[in-house]
């Protein structure tokens, strides 16, 4: 099982993902440079967090034009699994692989803290190891995580059950107080219609070891590896 981790100038969660995928989970992982097109036969792609190109224009707005993104689009088109986190979510939205946009946090401040997420569906390759309604405790670290869609698009996203994760309190209640960035409908993670491209603002790669304060990132990672193992059979 081989993972490809995208690296743009300014990406910084790449090394954390590499650590989790190789040292914690024991899989093979390679870095894929943004200027290349070759995906090196990877079975799944990770679009990690960071400040690609400094995010000076708009998060992900320049990264979407990188040569590698054409290959990512083809990979997704052919059904390959793509998981984005943080800046990766922003890039996948800018690239049109996921709907919506991530705006400045409602409080305008960058926030790095543990949040709770409610799993809305488990019939995806990214959440099959979770239970519906399960509450995951995973850190966020972003200044632009305020997920936005207009009313009609939001309705359509909800109608097709495109929301995978929502910010909630420790008991699983989806409340305004539990929403760290003002995202519409407390949306923390979404999936595309085909069900093979998912992204979330939180950082599951930061909580896969007890020593770092939590392991709720593991169910998401395990779901992904189960899906890859199943498709390989």
């Amino acid at each position: 099982m081989k993972f490809g981790i995208l690296v743009f100038p300014g990406t910084w969660s790449d090394r954390d993902w590499h650590h989790v995928l190789t040292r914690v989970l024991g899989h093979e992982a390679v870095y894929l440079w943004h200027g290349d097109r070759d995906l090196h036969d990877c079975d799944a792609l990770i679009v990690p967090g960071g400040f690609a190109h400094g995010d000076y224009l708009r998060a992900g707005a320049i990264a979407r034009f990188s040569p590698i993104m054409e290959s990512v689009a083809q990979f997704a088109e052919s059904g390959g699994l793509v998981l984005g986190s943080c800046n990766g979510f922003q890039i996948l939205c800018e690239a049109g692989l996921l709907p919506g946009a991530l705006r400045r946090n409602a409080g305008m401040a960058f926030r790095c803290e543990w949040v709770h997420l409610r799993v809305e569906r488990t019939d995806t390759p990214f959440t099959s190891a979770c239970e519906v309604g399960q509450v995951l405790r995973i850190p966020i670290s972003h200044g632009e995580g305020n997920f936005y869609l207009d009313d009609a698009e939001l309705e359509s996203l909800e109608a097709r059950r495109g929301v995978v994760l929502r910010y909630c309190d420790a008991t699983g209640q989806v409340t305004a107080a539990a929403n760290p960035n003002g995202s519409r409908n407390n949306i923390a993670g979404i999936i595309n219609t085909r069900g093979n491209v998912m992204a979330l603002m939180p950082h599951p790669e930061r909580c896969c070891e007890t020593v770092l304060g939590g392991t709720d990132g593991l169910p998401l990672c395990h779901s992904l590896t189960h899906a890859l193992a199943a498709s390989a059979r």
Binding site: P9, G10, H19, G35, G54, C112, E113, S141, G213
Partner: protein, 753 residues
């Protein structure tokens, strides 16, 4: 060759010299060294290199008093851009703290941001990957508009730079006092990790080897930054001396330099910081025992018409000097290009130990490098204590009476700007990226795990803490200096890590004033004594002088950045336990109002900064820290929390707040208290609050006896009420006071927990 000084004097007015931070006698010395009148480019180069900021002319003699060697020290002060210690497993931990006070006073956001950028460059220049940032901040009265503006700017700038770079900000401290109103302090510390055998030197060498300048193009920003930081009253001087940071560019520079480290193509790497190209080239050449021939016409500029003087003294950020083995310049440039970085060959190494600056064919400056380094004037003064301090020592702390109910007072103390939780601040910094943060900011010390370059866990964790208490150093420079080192070390020891080495940033006023010089010399003596006693040599540091406005100096404010090393045990938390566990005090039980002298309580509740603060006993401090790092302590102690700012009452309340457990005090102990105010808020040093399971208490008694450390049972934890020494309140009230105190003091809208 003798030069007529009268003739030389006619060349530059006093104002000309002041403009480059030189005085007439120094100018005469320059003329004497050169044997001729320097041209204006040369004068500017001398001014920068002889400034306090680069040349340490007022502090160098004093800095020699610090202990700088120890079994784990790999690189001490001045050897490279930062100090280094051996963490085992073939890894060096590289670290340094540096000030950016003056720029932050003028433009807080960019001043703080570029302070972070500068210290990061010091670390990755050595081939080390930065793994942590910490920031020690001082501001004026939190109620003033000016402080609020500076606070938001500085915190915003730190977050902006560190977050974009993807380096976690894991700690630091913030204190408020009117003394810092016009002169805020922004000290940034960075910690990096590199295999010990791959540290890149910051030196030039090999005649004919090309010199590359890479990164940002050079502009007029920051000209005179070094000299500007070496005079008083930053507010009244040049705003143009503040640079603008580009963390994205720095991230690219960092990755490129780390990628180049092991290629064998580099002779050395030196970042451009204070005094820009001047300092970088002079230091690299001097360290390498060679010279450099530069052509400023080859320097990529961001504006037209820049003179050699401006190019040599620009402090444009995110630039690096690479000395490359001849023939590999194209290889090196290819790596830089991959990372989108522009580089130019701006000169080459020469055997003759001079800095030659050409503008095309014309020589704009030519100075032997030794004149700019070895010959920096050194001022040694005989300091004189300010007589005001002896008067302040007359203050009788035994006369201090409680103002109201002690439970109310404890809540007010917990919400005081110097004590309250900094959660909102460190939540605005990414403190987890890198997947190493084992203990997050907000506790005694941050703890990071150490991994090898090929991502193997070493089982080693490092504890990092910064500390400084200007009030204590002001009231008693020797004792205060020692306390600063002791507290930083104690913070590390609470986690179980052995305090190993330190970096310091010496923030003082104008050293030309004898009382300021006295503060500096005496505080350095106190810090040195503590560093020796605790086995924590100084491996790097920085000096920031002239922190004064309208003749008023800040409190003498040395800041310590301490590194502790722990192997074989998981780090101990500051607060953890089960209902029924015992809370105990390691160190002396005190019930004496003299301990309120110089305390946070006096400053916060009474607005009084007076008295002679409690004296540190270094042997007792060492015994306490030896106990905390004793392998046997790990099985016994569930947690350990330093008792310092705010005294035992605040330490206990913080412990209870963090652990989510109340405390019922030991009845016998309470019966014998005669000064509850002093018990709660006195600041006797060398004390730590620990929690221990009842089954382990006997073992702890044995261990404490073995180390000769007093042990007092304070109470039993559990429930949701805090009761101790006549202070009674609910945990919920304490938590709210602690959580919202800072925001309230700064006039911010509360953010939900």
């Amino acid at each position: 060759m003798a030069v007529d000084l009268a003739h030389a004097d006619a060349a530059y007015s006093d104002a000309d010299l002041r403009g480059v931070a030189l005085v007439r006698t120094e100018y005469h010395r320059i003329v004497e060294l050169l044997g001729r009148i320097p041209n204006s480019v040369e004068l500017g180069i001398f001014g920068a290199m002889w400034s306090e900021h680069c040349g340490y002319k007022n502090s160098r003699a004093l800095l020699k008093r610090f202990p700088t060697t120890g079994p784990r020290v790999l690189l001490g002060p001045g050897a490279e851009n930062a100090g280094a210690i051996d963490a085992g497993h073939g890894l060096a931990v590289v670290f340094k703290i540096e000030s950016h006070n003056h720029p932050s006073a003028v433009e807080p956001f960019q001043g703080a941001a570029t302070g972070v950028g500068g210290i990061l460059r010091d670390i990755f220049t050595m081939g080390a990957r930065p793994v942590a940032l910490l920031d020690s901040l001082r501001f004026g009265d939190p109620a003033s508009e000016r402080t609020r503006y500076l606070f938001d700017g500085v915190v915003g700038g730190i977050g902006h730079y560190g977050n974009c770079m993807g380096i976690p900000t894991v700690g630091g401290e913030i204190y408020f006092d009117a003394t810092y109103g016009a002169n805020p302090l922004v000290n940034a510390m960075c910690v990096g990790v590199v295999p010990t055998d791959r540290i890149l030197p910051a030196r030039a060498g090999g005649a004919g080897n090309p010199v590359l300048l890479v990164g940002a193009s050079t502009g007029r920003d920051g000209i005179h930054g070094a000299t500007f930081a070496s005079v008083s009253d930053p507010n009244s001087t040049q705003r143009s001396a503040v640079q603008v940071g580009n963390p994205f560019l720095e991230k690219l520079l960092m990755e490129a330099c780390l990628e180049l480290r092991d290629t064998g193509w580099l002779v050395g790497l030196q970042d451009l910081g204070a005094a820009g190209l001047t300092s970088a080239t002079v230091e690299a050449a001097h360290k390498g025992g060679c010279g450099l021939d530069l052509d400023v016409a080859q320097v990529a500029r961001r504006e037209d018409g820049m003179t050699p003087y401006e190019i040599m003294l620009s402090e444009s950020q995110e630039r690096m000097l690479a000395i490359v083995h001849d023939g590999h310049e194209a290889d090196v440039q290819r790596v830089f290009e991959k990372w989108g970085l522009h580089s130019n060959i701006i000169g080459h190494v020469i055997n003759e130990p001079v800095l030659r600056v050409r503008d095309g064919e014309n020589v704009a400056a030519e100075i032997p490098t030794a004149y700019l380094t070895d010959d920096v004037p050194m001022y040694i003064r005989e300091g004189v204590a300010n007589p005001k301090i002896a008067e302040l020592w007359q203050f009788d702390a035994t006369q201090v009476q409680p103002r109201d109910d002690l439970g109310e007072t404890l809540q007010r103390m917990l919400s005081a700007p110097d004590v309250a939780s900094r959660r909102t601040v460190w939540n605005s910094y990414d403190h987890m990226v890198g997947a190493n943060t084992v203990i997050a900011p907000g506790f005694d010390a941050a703890v990071l795990r150490l991994r090898t370059e090929d991502d193997q866990d070493t089982g080693v964790t490092i504890a990092i803490a910064t500390d400084g208490n200007g009030r204590l150093v002001y009231l008693d420079p020797y004792n205060g200096g020692a306390m600063t080192v002791a507290e930083a070390a104690r913070n590390c020891a609470c986690t179980g890590a052995t305090p190993t080495a330190l970096t310091n940033c010496l923030n003082f006023g104008n050293p030309e004033k004898l009382d300021v010089y006295y503060q500096m010399a005496t505080a350095i003596d106190g810090m040195s004594a503590a560093a020796r006693a605790l086995g924590t040599p100084v491996v790097s540091g920085n000096v920031s002088l002239y922190n004064e406005t309208e003749g008023e100096a800040i409190y003498p404010s040395p800041v310590i950045g301490m590194i502790g090393v722990l192997e074989g045990h998981p780090p101990r938390p500051s607060a953890a336990g089960q209902p029924g566990d015992v809370l105990a005090l390691l160190g002396p039980w005190r019930d004496d109002p003299v301990d309120l002298a110089g305390s946070t309580y006096l400053a916060t509740m009474e607005g009084i900064v007076a008295g002679r603060p409690p004296q540190l006993d270094l042997a007792a401090e060492r015994a306490l820290q030896d106990l905390l790092t004793d392998p046997q302590s790990f099985a016994l102690l569930a947690s350990a929390h330093d008792c310092s700012d705010g005294g035992l009452g605040v330490a206990l309340a913080e412990w209870c707040t963090w652990a989510g457990l109340g405390i019922t005090p030991d009845a016998h102990l309470m019966e014998h208290i005669s000064h509850p105010l002093a018990v709660l808020f006195g600041e006797a040093p060398s004390r730590v609050v620990v929690s221990v399971a009842p089954a382990h208490y006997a073992g702890l008694v044995e261990l404490a006896t073995a180390h000769g450390v007093p042990l007092t049972q304070l109470g039993i934890v559990g429930g949701d009420q805090f009761r101790f020494a006549q202070a009674h309140c609910s945990l919920a009230d304490l938590r709210a006071a602690h959580e919202y105190g800072l925001g309230e003091a700064l006039g911010k809208t509360p953010v939900a927990v």
